[in-house]
Symmetry: C2
């Protein structure tokens, strides 16, 4: 029933979307977008305005704004989290929402949920100093603490695999980069 909430999620609305996408698979094709404008040095600014989905263009209720920068030790002014911290943010948010939504539609109640993420990176990769060192994270650890019935923990572990950002991070996606002159 639309309006019934578990973990603050409108379960009926999610189930309605599931049924819609089963009947009309094309409606499940979404395109998410951001626009990034470089400001100065390590500082750049992102706006998140609209997205495509359910066969139409959709707008956010407001434009979301995000800033990235580097801390002083990495030659920035620290006007925002840095790009690899933003990646951990995306991963933590996606795992959290995946657990909460999928728990909700299965009737699994969660009282509290927190996580700490840590990623190891050897900056010699990014700086091009050592070719054998990868540029990105070597490993990312995610530790959740969840206030819920004990029997739910194993179920939540299985549900975490449904996270889209977990999928992209632990598998791979084709990223097509084009650069043209302005």
């Amino acid at each position: 029933m639309v309006g019934e909430k578990v973990n603050g999620v409108d379960v009926g609305a999610v189930e309605s979307a599931v049924n819609t996408f089963k009947e009309n698979p094309g409606l499940a094709n979404f395109k998410f977008r951001v626009h990034n404008k470089w400001i100065n040095g390590g500082h750049n600014h992102v706006t998140v305005g609209n997205f495509y989905g359910a066969n139409q263009e959709n707008s956010h209720l407001k434009t979301h704004e995000l800033d990235a920068d580097e801390p002083p030790i990495l030659a920035g002014e620290d006007l925002g989290a840095n790009p690899v911290e933003h990646l951990l943010n995306a991963l933590s948010a996606c795992l959290t929402t995946t657990l909460i939504y999928h728990a909700a539609i299965r009737g699994i109640e969660i009282e509290e949920l927190e996580s700490d993420l840590e990623g190891d990176i050897d900056l010699r990769g990014f700086l091009g100093i050592a070719k054998e060192v990868r540029r990105g994270y070597q490993e990312i650890r995610v530790n959740f603490k969840v206030k819920t019935a004990a029997e739910n923990i194993a179920k939540l572990m299985a549900l975490s695999k449904l996270s889209p950002v977990f999928d992209v991070t632990s598998n791979w996606t084709n990223v097509n980069v084009q650069i043209e002159r302005k």
Copy 2:
């Protein structure tokens, strides 16, 4: 020379870091972290406070705060960009900083730099409706527009491959998820 800036980047400071990491590779091992707290439904909140690097604990000048939520069409209240938009944000920020920093240390001047990112995702994967559909983005397109001398474009294309988030997104990283009861 420390203090000389190209593209707003203190080139001397970056070159000094490169020399330090060449002499003492262990100093290049960084650990970045976020803490995520679920608020309600699709809304969760991240704090970015400290990180390890250069053989010590480091604090940001201030704690950076980030929110994720889903738009109403995805059963949220739209109190922030959603997790997969945050992933595009991280990718755009990292590619941008990579281009700007590496251009700077090569003396390549950039006047303006903007990018549009778009990722294709079939939500039947996340919702567990169709097993053959992946959960994450099927493809991500990144289009940069750069105001710089024409001869620099090919160089920038090569430099973009040094981006850590591009590496994680287009390759893969081991993500170790643990869930325990609070």
